[in-house]
C-alpha cells in the first residue's frame, strides 16, 4: 500500500515535470492541467530569470592546460589509418607525385584514345554498312600471298595518316559474290589490316581483273584527294571500303617500289662503270692510233732514206699496212702509188728508177701529213 502510494506519487511528480518541460518548450498555458497551471507559470518566470544570469567564466589557463594535454595525448596515441593517410597525402611530395601520375595517365589515355576511337568506328560502322557497300569493301588485287604479307607489313608501319578518307566508292564498283558479304557480316570486329590477306583468295577467284584496274586507279585518286577529310558518320562504311581498297593499292605500289629499288640501285651503279669503260676504251684506241701514226712517220722516213728498191718496196708494203691500221688513208694511198711506181721501174728496160713518177707521188702527199712530219 505504501509502495503503491509512493509509485503513484512519483508518477504524479513525473507528470508535473513533463507538463513543466512542455511549457518551457513552447507549449501554451492552457495545455497545462489547471491544478498545476499557477505553479508551473511561476516556475517558468523563475526559469527565464535564471537563464538570463551569466555562467561563470573559466580561467584561460585551464583551457591552455586542457589543450596541451590533448596535443600531448594526440602525439602519444596511435593515429587512425585514415588520419595517417590524410596526413601523408597532404604533404607536398605525395601531392606532386600524384599530380605527375595523373598527368601521365591523362597523356597515355589521350595517346591511346585515337586508335581506339578509330577501331571502334570500324567495329560499329561495319555491321551497319549497306549491303552493296559492304560487298564492295574488299577488292584487293590478286596478289601473291607472300607479297600481300609484305605489303601488310609495310602498311602497318604507319606511313599513311590514321584519318580515314571520306571518298565515296567510285561509280564502277564490281559486285563481289555473296560469299564475301557473308564473310563481312560474320566478322564484324575484325581489324582493317586483316581484311585483304584473309579474304584475298576468295576475291581472286571471283573478281574480274580487267575491271579491277580502273577501280583501283579511281580509288587511289579519291584517296589521294580526300585523305585529310573526316568522313561523316553515314558514309563511314563506304569510306572504310574505299580505304581498304586504297590500302591494298598502296601496299602493292610500295611492294613494287621495294622490288624495283635494287634494280635502280644496280643501274645507278652500272652507269658510271660503263662510262669509265668507254672512256678507257677510247683512251686505249687513242693511244694505239698515236702509236700507229708514229710508226707511219718512222716508216715513211725509212722509205725516203732507202735507196734499195727491194728494201724500199718492202717498206712501202709495211707502210701501207700500218697507215691503213692507223686510219691514215692518204698515206696508205701514197704508199700504194709508190709501190706501183716501184714495180713499174722494175719492169722497165733501162732499169732506171722512175723518180719522176715517184716525185709526184711524194708531192701528192697531203699538206696535213707534210706539216705533221
Amino acid at each position: 500500500m505504501v509502495e503503491m502510494t509512493h509509485d503513484k506519487r512519483e508518477h504524479d511528480d513525473a507528470a508535473f515535470v513533463d507538463a513543466y518541460e512542455r511549457r518551457l518548450a513552447g507549449g501554451r498555458p492552457e495545455d497545462v492541467p489547471a491544478a498545476w497551471r499557477e505553479e508551473i507559470e511561476q516556475m517558468v518566470v523563475i526559469h527565464e530569470r535564471l537563464a538570463a544570469l551569466p555562467l561563470p567564466d573559466v580561467s584561460p589557463a585551464v583551457r591552455s592546460a586542457v589543450l596541451t594535454a590533448a596535443a600531448q595525448a594526440a602525439s602519444e596515441r596511435p593515429q587512425s589509418l585514415w588520419s595517417k593517410i590524410a596526413e601523408f597525402l597532404m604533404r607536398p611530395g605525395p601531392i606532386l607525385a600524384t599530380a605527375a601520375a595523373l598527368a601521365l595517365l591523362v597523356a597515355v589515355g589521350q595517346r591511346e584514345s585515337k586508335p581506339a576511337v578509330d577501331a571502334g568506328a570500324v567495329a560499329v560502322s561495319e555491321p551497319l554498312a549497306p549491303p552493296e557497300v559492304a560487298q564492295a569493301a574488299p577488292a584487293p588485287a590478286p596478289n601473291p600471298p607472300a607479297e600481300a604479307q609484305v605489303a601488310q607489313g609495310i602498311a602497318k608501319e604507319g606511313d599513311k595518316p590514321p584519318s580515314p578518307p571520306a571518298a565515296a566508292p567510285p561509280p564502277a564498283v564490281a559486285e563481289p559474290p555473296p560469299a564475301v558479304a557473308k564473310a563481312e557480316a560474320a566478322r564484324p570486329t575484325r581489324t582493317i589490316a586483316a581484311q585483304p590477306a584473309s579474304i584475298a583468295p576468295d576475291m581472286a577467284a571471283n573478281t574480274e581483273p580487267e575491271r579491277q584496274a580502273p577501280q583501283q586507279a579511281a580509288l587511289a585518286e579519291g584517296i589521294a584527294d580526300d585523305q585529310r577529310k573526316l568522313p561523316p558518320a553515314p558514309v563511314m562504311g563506304m569510306a572504310r571500303a574505299a580505304e581498304n581498297r586504297g590500302q591494298n593499292l598502296e601496299a602493292m605500289n610500295k611492294a613494287n617500289q621495294f622490288a624495283q629499288a635494287p634494280r635502280a640501285e644496280a643501274k645507278a651503279e652500272a652507269e658510271p662503270m660503263a662510262v669509265a669503260q668507254d672512256k678507257k676504251t677510247q683512251d686505249v684506241a687513242k693511244d694505239s692510233a698515236e702509236v700507229a701514226k708514229s710508226d707511219v712517220q718512222q716508216l715513211k722516213a725509212a722509205v725516203d732514206k732507202t735507196t734499195d728498191p727491194a728494201k724500199r718496196k718492202a717498206l712501202l708494203v709495211k707502210l701501207r699496212a700500218v697507215a691503213l691500221q692507223a686510219g691514215d688513208g692518204k698515206t696508205a694511198q701514197w704508199a700504194d702509188q709508190a709501190l706501183a711506181a716501184s714495180n713499174a721501174n722494175e719492169s722497165s728496160p733501162g732499169g732506171v728508177p722512175n723518180k719522176a713518177k715517184a716525185a709526184p707521188a711524194k708531192s701528192a702527199a697531203p699538206a696535213s701529213e707534210k706539216t705533221s712530219y
Binding site: E10, A14, F16, Q42, M43, V45, I46, A74, R77
Partner: protein, 205 residues
C-alpha cells in the same frame, strides 16, 4: 584561393555545428581542435555545476574533467552521450574534492562566498572591492543572491538534478544515467526542487 577560403569556412561551420560525439570522434582520430570546440561548449556550465556541487576549486574540476576525457579516450564507448560522460566524471571529481576539502583549513578562492552577492572569493578579490561591477543589474543581483540562498537549502540530490537540468541542459534520462538513478526518481527530485525554489523565489516570480 576563394575556393580554399570557402572550404575553410564550410569546414569551420561544420566543426561548430557538429555533435559532441562527432567532435570527440574527430579528437580521437587526431584532431586536437575538436577538443577545443568541446571545451568551449561545456566549460562554463561544467564550472557552474561544480560550484553547485560545492567544489572548493571549480576550475580545477573543469580542468581535471577534461584531462580525464583526453586521457581516457578509449574509455568512451559511445554507448552514452559525451555530455553524460563528462558530467559523470565531473560529479565523481566533485565528490572526491568534497572529501578532501573536509581536511582543508583555509578557504578556497573558487568556492562561493555564500554571502550577499554569491561571488567566489577569487572573483571578489579580482573585482574592485568593496563594490561590485557598476553595470550589474540590481534586480539580477538580488535574484542571484536569493537563488544561491535557495539552492543552498536544497538537498544535494535535488540541487544536483536541478543544476544538471536547468544549467547544464541534460535530459532526465541523461541525469538518471549520470547519477545512476531511476528516471522517475530524478523527475520526483526535480519536482521537489522546483517546489522549494518557487517558494523561496516567490517574490521574483
Amino acid at each position: 584561393m576563394w575556393l580554399l577560403m570557402m572550404a575553410a569556412l564550410v569546414a569551420l561551420a561544420a566543426t561548430e555545428n557538429a555533435s559532441d560525439e562527432a567532435l570527440y570522434e574527430r579528437f580521437v582520430g587526431g584532431d586536437s581542435r575538436a577538443l577545443g570546440v568541446l571545451y568551449d561548449r561545456h566549460c562554463r556550465a561544467l564550472k557552474a555545476f561544480a560550484i553547485q556541487q560545492g567544489a572548493a576549486r571549480p576550475d580545477d574540476v573543469v580542468q581535471d574533467a577534461f584531462v580525464r576525457v583526453v586521457r581516457n579516450a578509449q574509455g568512451f564507448k559511445g554507448q552514452s552521450k559525451f555530455k553524460t560522460w563528462l558530467y559523470t566524471i565531473a560529479r565523481n571529481l566533485c565528490v572526491d574534492a568534497s572529501r578532501r576539502d573536509k581536511f582543508r583549513s583555509g578557504p578556497s578562492l573558487d568556492a562561493p562566498m555564500g554571502d550577499d552577492d554569491g561571488l567566489t572569493l577569487g572573483e571578489r578579490i579580482a573585482s574592485d572591492a568593496p563594490g561590485l561591477d557598476a553595470s550589474r543589474n540590481t534586480a539580477d543581483k538580488q535574484f542571484r543572491q536569493a537563488y544561491e540562498a535557495a539552492m543552498q537549502t536544497l538537498p544535494d540530490e535535488q540541487r544536483e538534478v536541478f543544476t544538471l537540468r536547468e544549467i547544464s541542459g541534460l535530459s532526465f534520462a541523461e541525469i538518471a544515467e549520470a547519477t545512476a538513478t531511476n528516471e522517475n526518481t530524478v523527475k520526483s527530485r526535480m519536482r521537489y526542487a522546483l517546489k522549494a525554489l518557487r517558494e523561496a523565489l516567490a517574490d521574483f516570480a
